[in-house]
């Protein structure tokens, strides 16, 4: 299990309310959050938004509750896609963002998003009845590629009808994916729409997740998403830097050490972010070779 994350805090123009949102998230015990910019290509003039610099928001990032480290803030772009032309995988504008998410609105696009598009998250619509059925094939394809599905809960707090749709759509998804590859995030616009990680773990039980997968939905699966995003941005993990320390290189040279150092790395997890793993493995090897 890793730290708790909320990979969807809605971006608002109002700087102070955005600050409050992040502060509340830190207070609730989230170690990593992502500010979400939604991009919908409806009117032609619209351009891909530019993410705000985190440094401009905070002089000093708020401390995570009960910990001594500050919260980590990422930027994320969600592209709402009603036509396949809306998403250009190589668009340079996307490079400003740490995480890339896609919200397909039709079955065809959903399938395409699951199977081919190079994104990290596929958002599931929670504000209306699902316009299509999830196909097990598509869902499994996404999970195999390390692309995760996202359910956001803020809509469920706002309104009774949306609550029904949130639960129904989430249950439907869980039924298809068996709870694998699912993250739960807030999509909160205001601080009061945020809930603590344990609350979400409990809430996820309503969606049909088990204790274990519920907890993963706010922690390790999110971690995989971030890792997947890192790999995507670094070109399938070919370019990756690892810290190498020179002080004890004499000990590293011993053959026994080199072996043990490599062994655990080799039998590393075969998770979704498998590309990320290869990157690390390379790093570990580099270290031991020194």
């Amino acid at each position: 299990m890793s730290v708790f994350m909320d990979l969807n805090l809605s971006y608002t123009e109002d700087k102070s309310s955005l600050q409050r949102l992040i502060e509340t998230a830190a207070q609730l015990g989230y170690s990593t959050v992502a500010i979400n910019y939604t991009f919908e290509l409806t009117k032609k003039k619209k351009e891909v938004p530019k993410p705000a610099q985190i440094k401009e928001l905070f002089e000093q990032l708020p401390i995570v509750q009960g910990r001594s480290r500050p919260i980590r803030v990422l930027n994320r772009l969600t592209v709402v896609m009603s036509e396949s032309s809306h998403f250009r995988s190589t668009a340079p504008e996307y490079r400003h963002f740490d995480i890339l998410a896609l919200q397909p609105t039709s079955e065809k696009l959903f399938h395409a998003a699951c199977m081919t598009y190079d994104v990290d998250i596929i958002c599931v619509i929670v504000t209306e009845k699902l316009p299509f059925h999830f196909k097990r094939g598509s869902v499994n394809g996404a999970i195999d590629r390390g692309v995760m599905f996202e359910i956001s809960y803020a809509a469920a707090i706002r309104d009774s009808t949306m609550r029904r749709y949130t639960i129904a759509n989430a249950v439907n998804l869980v039924e298809r994916s068996k709870g694998k590859g699912m993250i739960i995030s807030s999509a909160a616009e205001r601080a009061l729409e945020l809930r603590g990680p344990y609350d979400i773990t409990n809430l996820a039980l309503l969606f049909g997740l088990t204790d274990q997968t519920a907890k993963e939905a706010v922690s390790s699966t999110c971690h995989s998403v971030v890792r997947h995003a890192e790999t995507r941005r670094t070109g399938s993990g070919i370019v990756c830097t690892t810290k190498v320390c020179t002080e004890t290189s004499d000990q590293q040279g011993a053959p026994v050490d080199a072996d043990t150092c490599e062994a655990p790395a080799a039998k590393k997890h075969k998770t979704a972010a498998s590309e990320g793993v290869t990157a690390e493995e390379g790093g570990a090897k580099a270290t031991s070779a020194l």
């Binding site: 609730l28 009960g66 809960y153 469920a156 707090i157 706002r158 009774s160 609550r163 205001r190 009061l192 729409e193 945020l194 809930r195 603590g196 344990y198 609350d199 979400i200 409990n202 809430l203 039980l205 309503l206």
Partner: protein, 121 residues
């Protein structure tokens, strides 16, 4: 000398206690009495779980009006219901609110000894 040791596995009986700081309201000046507080939670249960949910019995063991902190006790089979309805409660009399669950434990005694509350320096 007797040395009897018995093991008990709790099943239906067990109670779960929640300590919650509740609710964080938009308008800080709103005051909530204990009865209103319980009524509010029942409303939340009714919204999410209907009349069946509203019939769930739970106790407000202690409620502090100033900090709006309460100790709730609920039979363990009702925990998920109560907790999730608190999570999804978003407004009180048309103003935004949020419940913050501070701790959940099968034992009331555990709520007074939470090491995470240890604040040094």
């Amino acid at each position: 000398m007797k040395g009897v040791s018995t093991q008990k596995k709790s099943t239906g009986y067990q109670r779960v206690v929640l300590k919650n700081s509740a609710p964080v309201l938009e308008n800080e000046s709103t005051r909530l009495s204990a009865v209103e507080f319980k009524q509010f939670i029942i409303t939340g249960l009714k919204i999410l779980y209907g009349e069946v949910g509203a019939a769930l019995t739970f106790d407000v063991l202690k409620y502090d009006e100033d900090s709006r902190t309460a100790f709730l006790r609920v039979p363990s089979r009702g925990l998920v219901k109560l907790w999730s309805s608190l999570t999804l409660l978003g407004s009180y009399q048309d103003q935004a609110c949020a419940f913050r669950i501070l701790q959940v434990s099968p034992f009331l005694l555990a709520l007074t000894g939470n090491s995470r509350e240890l604040q040094l320096d």
